[in-house]
Amino acid sequence: MTMVEAIREAHDVAMGADERVVVFGEDVGFFGGVFRCTAGLQAKYGTSRCFDAPINESGIVGAAIGMAAYGLRPVVEIQFADYVYPAYDQIVSEAARIRHRSNSDFTCPMVIRMPTGGGIFGGQTHSQSPEAVFTHVSGLKVAIPSNPQDAKGLLLAAIEDPDPVIFLEPKRLYNGPFDGHHDRPVTSWKSHPLGDVPDGGDIVPLGKAGIRREGKDVTVLAYGTMVYVAEAAQAESGIDAEIIDLRTLLPIDIDAITASVEKTGRCVIVHEATRTCGYGAELMALVQEHCFYNLEAPVLRVTGWDTPYPHAQEWEYFPGPARVSEALKKVMEA
């Protein structure tokens, strides 16, 4: 199934199993969301468990916080990650802090879903990857699946989690894997093993990375769409790279990272977000702190540039396989 269908199914499973799970957001009710991730839920569970919200991201999150404090398990959709900033205060000052500041008198189990990343000619307001402004915030968890299997399993884990989870959905992967070769025919999830999603309620645990390819020469740390870009770059460069799909950015699976870098002695970090103070900076710091004496070459970052996400220059901005291959070669030659 597609990632959209997997996300829909995760909602369905969770709502069916737990009355406390409620779903709302802009256009998520009758219509089922602009990406159709909640299609059918209102018809099945009624308007008081799946409904349209006013266009107010801060209000959506703020109301969800109140619902979570009451005892529900709200799962809300922000239509695009680019539109989460109005909710930033409610997320950072409230959702992330309520458990700590109240000594667990009140808690905030909720999931804030949002399509993230580029590759769809969405320009600067439909393409952003804001993960780093959440991973800096203690009290939050941040997950980002790269395939339908993980999308379902991680979303179920996020809904069960007792704390607030930012759930980033790489929109370019909704209907098929994408390795950055925009000029080639699009592929669908049907033909991909990870598009084959198990029934039922099995979760993919938060905080555990996945190894997408074992290799001995260099460790590639990636997540979301960049996992496929890394795979393409590996194939094209022929370098025996170990590709790690981080899956959860906060808390990070440091053991998976160190185990790999200790083995390879080299590391390339890939993300779509702008570089300065992006999540790659933290990965770079962690690798340096944990594996300094194993490193045979400087760790490299391949990222989006420090500019707003452009419209016409999408493919010059998007860190594609060519740039990642180059980094792989560079880190091997160093």
Partner: protein, 410 residues
Amino acid sequence: MTDTPPLSLKVPEPQCRPGDTPDFSEMEIPRAGAVGRPTVDVDPDEIRDMAFSIVRVLAKDGSAKGEWADALGGDELRLGLRHMLTLRAFDARMLNAQRQGKTSFYAQHLGEEAISCAFARALRDGDMNFPTYRQAGLLIARDYPLLTMMNQIYSNAEDPLCGRQLPILYSAKDHGFFSISGNLGTQFIQAVGWAMASAISGDTKIAAGWIGDGSTAENDFHAAMVFASTYKAPVILNIVNNQWAISTFQGIARGGVGTFAARGHGFGIASIRVDGNDYLAVHAVASWAAERARLGHGPTLIEHVTYRAGGHSTSDDPSAYRSQNESAAWPLGDPIDRLKRHLIAIGEWSEERHAQAEAEALDVVTSTQKKAEAVGTLGGGNGPSPRDMFEGVYETMPPHLIRQRQEAGY
């Protein structure tokens, strides 16, 4: 108080969904001319009722009625009609171009043309609009080059914004048109700030903010109302109520009050509802609000009542969430038909001249489109340089960006 029954959540529902028969009979529509025109220094409290009525000028028979029927002459009305015809033709061609893959995205104005076209004519040079993506009439009615608009839509080498911004999110300072944001609501308070700046500077310019019915729910709406109310900013705050926000009907944003204009009552702001499909009414109300602002009597909130006859954008299929007949059932008619009928009624126009004007508008748009496509279309090769994406992040490019540009090889 004794035990109470279980509570339940009330979720507003639209009157009709796909398959249902649209019925607007609940909607109270005063006849043209019914609502009086107060003086521009009126105390907002005295015109409370105007937020629950609708200022209308054009009657069914094409005549102009009442105190709001202001002095627009035949030439001005024909010009207005041309602007609307041009905008409609422009939309038709650009929708088509998007379907042909010449651009990534487009949003049309179908049914809403009167609002931006008439409003633009009520402002002066130097005034500033903070528009949404559905007010291109503000540009067309102030003679902004169609070619430049198309070059942006095609993100070609002559895109004035160098391919950085989405199609239709125009910026035209010298045409009183602020850079459109893709983020809803944010510009409403910016318009108030701009107006405050004009007042701080002892200037005579005014600002106009624009927001959709759905977007009034955004928090920036509150900021705009608070600041406009507190500092009596010379600003016109326009709500375009086209009944829908993508798939969400206006009731979800409006809630338990009858109209969006009523929001102004919580802030002591003069609030008026106007028939958004009535060129004369929009122009008259806009002129009234502009004069009020310019004379230092403060802000006006205008709710333009209209209907989004087309899809939300090229990414949208309205048949999934609303009745296909709803547009036809919409009681305020089509803005172009209505102005045309009025011009004919007053002997300033004819079916023949209209057909000719329509053809002319289409000609202009099509020939301009050829020119634009000769320059290039999205992904068609002759686009803006990758260098451009690194420019203009700051006035002077800082070292780290220069390094990145070099790393990128541009």
